[in-house]
């Protein structure tokens, strides 16, 4: 019988707080490292911690090194709160890689736009695009405390205290200014909608990465659907990456 995919047990290698309530956790799981591509997510649970929260939690891949994956996460509720207490050596249950992946263009000017924690998958995407493309990253955050320090990355951070989330008013201008040929965005829905519509007006392709509440993460529960122009689609297996034009 052939080797079957298993639930992986990863081991925490390290964790640090990088902004207000925002952490990077590094989890050793060599097999997963070999399989992941930008856009993929993993479904995480914490054995021996929160056993009343049964459902796994989806997180994008933020980065990889030789043997470990990194997740950039923000504390939201039960599981992410407990996640911050994980220490080196603790075990984490991982299901993945899950979902589809970002398009990987070549020789293009690419603009990546992350809102808040939505920047996570874009950093990993940047890593795989930078060799063959000219890539810029815009990161919108609500407050100064949420801003992150980006070493060696072409990130422009926008702090938008007033509006409540990073809305790219006049984003068409931004596209033209950067002469972008391809846009990728992940963040709050209103922001992504704005960017998809601006990209359409500017005539450039735009991919988005969506979130939804999930039970299974691999397409069987039908719980994570979002409405698209061609009916409900499953974020976990039809996405999380969608062509913006399909959505708005």
């Amino acid at each position: 019988m052939s080797q079957r995919k298993q639930i992986q047990i990863g081991t925490v290698v390290g964790q640090s707080e990088v902004a207000a309530n925002t952490f990077i956790i590094s989890i050793r799981e060599p097999q997963l490292v070999r399989q992941v591509k930008p856009g993929h997510f993993v479904n995480v649970s914490l054995p021996s911690r929160t056993n009343a929260n049964l459902l796994k939690r989806p997180f994008s891949i933020y980065g990889t090194d030789k043997e470990a994956i990194q997740i950039l996460y923000k504390v939201k509720g039960d599981v992410t709160t407990v996640m911050t207490t994980l220490q080196k050596g603790d075990e984490v249950e991982l299901l993945g890689p899950l979902g589809n992946t970002f398009t990987l263009p070549k020789k293009k000017k690419v603009l990546l736009v992350g809102g808040g924690i939505g920047v996570a998958p874009l950093i990993y995407l940047y890593d795989r695009l930078k060799a063959h493309n000219e890539v810029k990253i815009l990161h919108g955050v609500r407050t100064r405390q949420e801003a992150m320090v980006w070493a060696n990355l072409p990130v422009q951070t926008h702090v938008d205290e007033e509006v409540g989330h990073y809305v790219c008013a006049g984003f068409e201008k931004v596209i033209r200014q950067h002469e972008a040929q391809h846009v990728v965005t992940c963040g709050p829905i209103p922001m992504m909608k704005e960017i998809v519509e601006a990209s359409a007006r500017a005539g450039v392709s735009c991919e988005v990465s969506l979130e939804a509440r999930m039970a299974c993460g691999f397409g069987v529960c039908l719980g994570c659907v979002i409405e698209t122009k061609s009916g409900y689609k499953k974020v976990c297996s039809d996405g999380p990456v969608f062509d913006g034009a399909l959505l708005w």
Partner: protein, 301 residues
């Protein structure tokens, strides 16, 4: 090797581990996580005559030790099931396939049963009269005993395949319901379906689910499910597939002890996709270690 074969009336399973409708897709999606051919049976997602989009999102909420869903029987319809999905299951020759039908009317269920009766790969038909997430049919059927009777008899008439009727515990009297299904021709009963519950979105000051209520499942409801199976097993003579919060081999044994003949795994398939396969092995190991057999696993008098 300990003997694990179970006879559910006309249906023979190689072991009593089943997967519950709506929580195991069409089986093949789980092939990466376990050898589905080692399971007793898999139950397919409920099917309707026409494709159904299902309910508007959100469809999922987590609850303490459980979850709620408001999927609303989303599915591709009977044609796609028969033409594209069931053929994929031909490759698995040992696991039994239970097709679950959830028409919104008597006529729709009869039509579905007729169509499925023609398919060799379908080993049994489960009549879902207990889905809490639809406006027509579903749980409303379960609450109307004369309707249960007509429905079961009508479906019974059009198929020779083993007929399972799936019950809800959220009814005035589950024993009366069970007896009605038995008298009307069910070969097997399965229970319980999800329990209607609610969640609230505090920020929006609104009910969390668009339809208000949704179906609660998982370990949280296990005590309620055990009691339902016990109560029904005390009063009917046909085999029972028990379910509700099964998460471990101990849970499987508990359901068998209160009177289930087979045990179905539901939401925990999402939490641990390999679980049902592991339970097959663990149940064998349990029987060996405890010196029990499936037929001695009965409550002491």
């Amino acid at each position: 090797m300990v003997k694990t074969t179970v006879q559910l009336g006309p249906l023979t399973l190689q072991n009593p581990i089943v997967t519950a409708s709506g929580t195991f897709g069409y089986g093949v999606e789980f092939a990466d996580y376990l050898d589905i051919n080692k399971l007793g049976a898999i139950t397919l997602k409920s099917v309707t005559l026409n494709p159904r989009e299902g309910n508007a999102p959100p469809r999922i909420a987590e609850t303490p030790s459980g979850m709620m869903n408001s999927i609303g029987l989303a599915n591709h319809g009977i044609d796609v099931l028969m033409d594209s999905i069931l053929p994929k299951l031909e490759a698995f020759d040992r696991v039994k396939v239970i097709a679950n039908i959830a028409g919104h009317s008597l006529e729709e269920n009869v039509e579905l049963a007729k169509r499925l009766d023609q398919v060799d790969r379908v080993d049994a038909i489960e009549l879902n009269i207990s889905c809490p997430n639809v406006d027509a049919g579903g749980l409303a059927f379960c609450q109307d005993l004369p309707m249960v009777s007509r429905l079961t008899k009508a479906v019974r008439k059009v198929t020779l395949k083993p007929l399972i009727v799936k019950l809800s515990a959220s009814v005035p009297d589950i024993v009366a319901l069970a007896k009605t299904a038995v008298e009307s021709g069910a070969d097997i009963l399965s229970l319980i379906n999800t329990i209607p519950g609610m969640d609230v979105d505090i920020a929006k000051k609104a009910l969390f689910f668009k339809r208000g209520s949704a179906g609660l499942s998982g370990p949280a409801i296990r005590p309620i499910a055990l009691k339902a199976v016990y109560d029904v097993a005390q009063s009917v003579d046909i085999p029972i597939i028990g379910m509700g919060g099964v998460a471990s081999v101990e849970d499987v044994v508990k359901f068998l002890l209160v009177g289930a003949d087979a045990v179905s795994v539901g939401m925990m398939n999402f939490v641990r996709p390999s679980l049902s396969g592991e339970l097959v092995d663990q149940l064998s190991a349990y029987l060996v270690a405890s010196g029990e057999t499936l037929s001695t696993l009965k409550l002491k008098a």
